[in-house]
């Protein structure tokens, strides 16, 4: 049996990870082929994951780095 739309939304993470068993993956893809709403859901999910990867890198404040380097020197000379 093909998954329902609601079931599709629960399978999507495993689908993206390539973790679905072959039969389930084929039924998932069949459903996708027939359902534009689920295609949109999948597209939005991919876009969400991509956007999450865009959060800016925090850089280390200079005073903190200096403090750490001092500790490193102390550690070295122990």
């Amino acid at each position: 049996m093909m998954p329902t739309c609601q079931e599709m939304t629960e399978l999507v993470t495993d689908y993206l990870a390539g973790d679905l068993a072959l039969g389930t993956r084929l039924r998932f893809q069949l459903h996708l082929g027939l359902c534009r709403n689920c295609r949109r859901y999948l597209r939005q999910m991919k876009a969400s994951v991509r956007a999450t990867g865009q959060l800016s890198k925090l850089s280390i404040p200079a005073p903190m780095m200096n403090e750490l380097l001092q500790r490193f020197d102390n550690w070295k000379s122990r």
Binding site: C5, N37, R40, A47, V49, R50, A51
Partner: protein
């Protein structure tokens, strides 16, 4: 990982650190600072205490470096030191330990999408709303959307937040995340799934609001 340190495998890096190579230490700290501070923020409420926790972590890393046996990657070992210290600190301060729930994913029965949006037969009644920007590459360029993702992550239960931070923000592989946070593969997967669904739903609300403006 930065290209600079990617070239260094753990063993080579470890050798340089133990030899007191300052540059190797700077590279290591810079490479992991962002992930460590983001992870620390899961456990403590302010940026200042997160930085303090990260600083303590580096001290513990130096103290333990000579005994590091390389059973896990250096990065996993550092993440684990941070999460263990955070839990100890929470206990000492008599606070509830947000990560104590890590073993049992919060909201295990939390559906990815509000069940009211489906008809009785499980098909969409209120399908995903269209977004002005659904193309992953273009969405990634919209600063307000990224801000919305950041807020959605801050509002998550600790365990979901820890997992999505390492997996999707920092790009750490699932086995490494399990090891760093002490999670089973199944729990990690559930937590990531719920967390991603929350991000999607926050973005949907964001674009709905934009339509009204």
């Amino acid at each position: 990982m930065t290209a600079q340190t990617q070239l260094l495998d753990d063993k080579a890096l470890l050798g340089r650190l133990l030899a007191g190579d300052k540059q190797a230490f700077v590279a290591l700290v810079q490479e992991h600072h962002s992930a460590l501070v983001r992870l620390a923020r899961v456990f403590v409420s302010t940026q200042a205490s997160a930085e303090e926790l990260v600083q303590e972590t580096w001290m513990a890393v130096l103290d333990g470096l000579k005994a590091f046996e390389g059973r896990s990657s250096l990065r996993t070992w550092i993440f684990r030191i941070l999460s263990n210290r955070a839990k100890t600190r929470a206990v000492r301060e008599g606070r509830s330990v947000p990560m104590s729930a890590l073993g049992e994913p919060e909201g295990e029965n939390e559906p990815a999408v509000d069940p009211d949006r489906f008809a009785k037969d499980g098909h969409w009644a209120d399908p995903p709303h269209s977004w002005r920007e659904e193309d992953p590459e273009k969405l990634a360029l919209r600063a307000e959307a990224i801000g919305c993702v950041e807020r959605a992550i801050s509002a998550m239960p600790a365990s979901q937040r820890a997992v999505i931070t390492l997996r999707d923000v920092e790009g750490v592989a699932s086995d490494e995340v399990c090891e760093a946070l002490g999670l089973s593969e199944a729990n990690q997967r559930v937590l990531l799934h719920r967390a991603r669904a929350r991000v999607r739903s926050a973005l949907e609300a964001f674009f709905d609001e934009e339509k009204e403006r």
